[in-house]
């Protein structure tokens, strides 16, 4: 179904449009939220809250962005709120906005990786970096799309992506789980 038609149907309260939106975005959104929050229960709560907010405010949706971007923005904000509520997670404020792409670790060519170690390090990553890594690698969004979604500067997104990768590579190198 064409997106503009889908939005029209949602505004009219057509059941098939609601079912389609939940089917199209539901599982994908749940997986993204799970990667960010690390808990299926919390991810499911966020997804439910997201759709409820979308349905309540569909009348106000003007179509400035795509429906998908709008849904994802709500989900990301709700996920961020949850992470902020957890006292052990520091702020999402980045202290370095410029892209640090010329790092030695960044440029090292990885020949073999201990997958289990990488998985462990990945889920230990700070949510600020995990967020962009999930959106870039899992959602396959472009830097521009992530920039719009997170309402951040392009440099900030690039920097977080690069630093996230560096942290992972650095931690794996320290533990001897990576061979360059």
């Amino acid at each position: 179904m064409d997106e503009s038609l889908l939005i029209k149907k949602l505004k009219r309260g057509k059941e098939d449009a609601y079912v389609q939106v939940v089917h199209d975005y539901g599982n994908r959104l749940l997986r993204t939220c799970y990667l960010m929050l690390g808990s299926i229960e919390e991810a499911e709560d966020v997804v439910q809250e997201t759709f409820i907010r979308v349905f309540e405010n569909i009348g106000k949706f003007r179509g400035d962005s795509s429906l998908y971007t709008w849904v994802y923005t709500i989900a990301l904000n709700l996920s961020r709120d949850r992470l902020k509520r957890k006292s052990d997670v520091p702020s999402f404020q980045d202290d370095q906005d410029e892209w640090i792409g010329n790092d030695d670790v960044e440029n090292c060519v990885v020949k073999s990786i201990d997958r289990e170690a990488l998985k462990k390090e990945l889920f230990k990553l700070h949510p600020m970096y995990m967020e962009v890594i999930v959106l870039f690698y899992f959602e396959e969004l472009s830097i521009k799309e992530i920039t719009a979604l997170l309402n951040e500067k392009e440099g900030t997104v690039k920097s977080r992506l690069s630093r996230g990768r560096n942290i992972l590579k650095g931690n794996l190198s320290k533990g001897g789980f990576i061979n360059g």
Binding site: G13, E15, G26, N27, R31, F55, F138
Partner: protein
């Protein structure tokens, strides 16, 4: 995308491949959807209305009492009519005072 980045992607895909929204969550989400006009009218027509029986009975009884009881019954009792040939003499205990007309 280098092998490291491919590995990151693969891990995330594998970790989430069997994650799906539960039926309960799905029902909860769709339960919050905006209702169309027909559904809203149906909802209104099928709405259960609870009427407390005691106040309703008391109300109806009071209404019947007001409508049926002859409130000027005492006036009838205080008036006697004596037929005297072709005339009638009305003897009343109370004196009715009417408006003075010119």
């Amino acid at each position: 995308m280098d092998s490291f980045e491919k590995e990151i992607k693969r891990i995330m895909e594998e970790e989430t491949s069997d994650i799906v929204l539960s039926k309960k969550a799905m029902d909860n989400i769709l339960g919050h959807r905006k209702k169309n006009i027909k559904e809203r009218i149906d909802g209104l027509l099928n709405k259960e209305i609870k009427i407390p029986i005691a106040p309703v009975i008391i109300g109806f009884t009071a209404l019947f009492a007001i409508a049926l009881i002859p409130w000027n019954l005492s006036d009838f009792q205080s008036v006697k009519i004596i037929d005297m040939g072709g005339s009638q003499v009305i003897i009343s205990e109370s004196r009715e005072v009417g408006m003075k007309r010119r």
